[in-house]
């Protein structure tokens, strides 16, 4: 079973990736893939999941779930896992999955493996084999859950290809009730604040111009933004740039930031720590501009320029502008 995630009213990108991961596992186990869809006014989302390849969708539609809240989500999912007893429960390694996954596993007394980049089934035991980066990405570990019961994992974003829609697919949709009438929980949400970011959303951008410590200041990020705008993309940043308050934290790329998969990722003044690269290594093309020829980023980029970015950026913007005219 996978947990479908919504982003505003639509299926979040991770949901289609979870379908791919889930179908792979279900296929190896010779089982059907089911999905759990939780929200308010979920409309055709259940049918969409079926068109993506899910065989069976369980829907819980209630105002309590109008947006993600830890307590009702946890209570509901724990109950459904106990009633339906899936062997495997997969979530995205998103803010939601990171919040829910571990606590769910502790509540159900089972093992949990976060941020999986590869999933398979052990032929003899039929148990899940989960691979995930550890030590900041220095190594990958292959894990299995000890007992044979429910196995819970979160799947790293942008690793599995999104499942493709086919409108002719058919499946079963089951509505499940939410019986808990409680409207107040121990944790109260006082307000939600959206950080403003002009232009293309980082996660959706086809081009990202990303800056690190080497950029030097908030003002200097304006130059990166100009290049990003010229190329129709977004800016991104390393954690150092975020910690220095040069850019808002929602632009952080990496292990503990966003995972992105643009056509082109331009890394400027970024050394290429594995914790950063964890967020962008699946980009189709990585271009690094760094003045240190020994910088680790040149071991991971496709194209590299050894230079002070301040010399390269102005002519680059000029020529890219000319190109797009």
């Amino acid at each position: 079973m996978i947990l479908a995630e919504l982003q505003k009213d639509r299926l979040a990108g991770i949901s289609a990736e979870l379908v791919t991961a889930g179908l792979k596992i279900a296929g190896q186990l010779g089982e059907e893939l089911s999905a759990l869809l939780i929200g308010e006014n979920t409309g055709n989302r259940a049918q969409e999941l079926i068109c993506l390849g899910v065989h069976k969708v369980y829907v819980v539609d209630n105002p309590v779930f109008s947006c993600y809240r830890f307590e009702p989500y946890l209570e509901l999912i724990a109950r459904i896992c106990q009633e339906i007893q899936p062997n495997v429960f997969l979530m995205g390694h998103t803010e939601v999955g990171q919040d829910l996954g571990p606590r769910l596993a502790f509540r159900l007394n089972t093992g949990f493996v976060p941020n999986c980049v590869e999933l398979g089934v052990a032929p003899e035991s039929g148990l899940l084999q989960m691979t995930r980066p550890v030590y900041g990405g220095k190594a990958h570990g292959l894990y299995m859950v000890n007992n044979g019961g429910l196995q819970i994992a979160t799947v790293a974003p942008k690793v599995f290809e999104a499942a493709l829609r086919e409108d002719s697919r058919q499946g079963k949709i089951t509505l499940l009730p939410w019986e808990n009438e409680a409207t107040s929980f121990k944790i109260q949400v006082v307000e939600r604040v959206e950080t403003e970011s002009a232009g293309v959303r980082l996660e959706d951008a086809t081009v990202i111009v990303s800056g690190g410590r080497g950029v030097g200041s908030a003002e200097d990020f304006a130059g990166l933004k100009e290049l990003a705008d010229t190329l129709g993309g977004s800016i991104g940043a390393s954690r150092v740039a975020v910690d220095n308050n040069w850019v808002p934290n929602i632009l952080q790329v990496g292990l503990t930031g966003k995972v992105v998969k643009p056509n082109v990722y331009i890394a400027i003044g970024i050394s290429g720590s594995l914790q950063h690269m964890a967020g962008c290594s699946t980009a189709k093309t990585i271009i690094a501009i760094n003045r240190d020829p020994e910088a680790q980023i040149f071991k991971m980029a496709h194209f590299g320029v050894v230079a002070d970015w301040r010399e390269i950026l102005p002519p680059l913007i000029e020529k890219c502008k000319a190109l797009s005219e």
Binding site: F70, E95, Q98, D99, P102, R103, A105, F106, N109, G111, F112, P114, R132, P133, V134, Y135, G136, K138, A139, H140, G141, L142, Y143, V145, N146, N147, I187, V189, V190, E191, R192, V193, E194, T195, T206, L231, G232, V242, D243, T256, N263, V264, L274, Q275, S281, I287, Q296, F298, K299, M300, H302, F303, G304, V305, V306, A307, E311, P315, K319, L323
Partner: protein, 264 residues
């Protein structure tokens, strides 16, 4: 007075270059170069800072708990130098190589033993396991609310007010104590202790509890098994671009962009 427990793990320096590490023969551990001292896991430093930030404005006792085997006391004493009141080490041979599940059980046992705490702070994830699991586990075992990914923690009378990270911003949540909170780097770096405080801290005593002391008579159960570790292959085929002058380099880069931006 508030009692705040902060769980701090020692890890080897996550910023050290990969080339210095070796995989142990059984393939289950990375071995750092000899002689490199461990550091405090970075998000645990943020967690300690959140606790000290509370202590700045009201009466609070900050207790640091760290579990492991052959812990580096001088490194962990940095927490005392920064302003923690007490350091409790959970040290036992049994505590080596635990998974997140068993780690949470040992830490929860120690926290129960401390008793009378109001707030528990953990890092959002340890810099070696990158799991982000132990905090949630402690909260579930102790049956208290857990709030993850905090970017700010404040006390508001009987309540705790936390700003919690979301994908596109943050939310402000409130809950009564006791509560467990996991800290993200947005909280801010751990204040830097001065030399005098560092020296004074080295002379402060620490409490050490072993498994027996915690009443853990049988081996702690694990829920997950690490079968093996391996170093993933990486693309090292970088094509270097250069020109006679910046204009020429930019020209070449633009030509590459013209092709690649479209996804080719």
């Amino acid at each position: 007075m508030l009692t705040i427990v902060v769980c701090v793990k020692q890890v080897f320096d996550p910023e050290a270059p990969l080339s210095l590490f070796q995989l142990c023969p059984e393939g289950k551990k990375l071995i750092p170069p000899p002689g490199t001292p461990p550091v405090l896991s970075s998000f645990d430093e943020n967690a300690l800072e959140a606790a000290l930030y509370i202590k700045d404005v009201q009466a609070a006792k900050v207790i640091v708990v760290s579990m492991g085997y052959k812990l580096a006391k001088p490194v962990l004493k940095k927490t005392l130098a920064a302003g923690a009141d007490e350091l409790i080490l959970l040290e036992d041979e049994q505590f080596e190589g635990l998974d997140s599940y068993s780690t949470a059980h040992v830490l929860a046992r120690a926290i129960e033993r401390i008793g009378n705490w109001d707030i528990i702070l953990c890092g959002r994830q340890a810099a070696d396991t990158d799991a982000g699991q132990v905090g949630a586990g402690i909260a579930e075992i102790l049956q208290i609310p857990g709030i993850t990914l905090a970017r700010k923690v404040e006390i508001e009378g009987e309540k705790v007010r936390v700003e919690r990270l979301l994908a596109d911003g943050y939310e402000v949540v409130e809950t009564a104590r006791p509560v467990l909170i996991t800290a993200s780097n947005e909280i801010g770096a751990l204040r830097f202790p001065n030399v005098k405080a560092l020296m004074a801290a080295q002379k402060m005593g620490v409490t050490v509890w072993d498994a027996a002391e915690l009443g853990l008579t049988t081996a702690v159960t694990k829920q997950t098994n690490l079968l093996k570790l391996f170093v993933p292959e990486r693309n090292t085929n970088c094509q270097m671009i250069s020109g006679e002058n910046p204009e020429e380099t930019a020209e070449k880069l633009t030509a590459i962009l013209a092709i690649k931006v479209g996804g080719n």
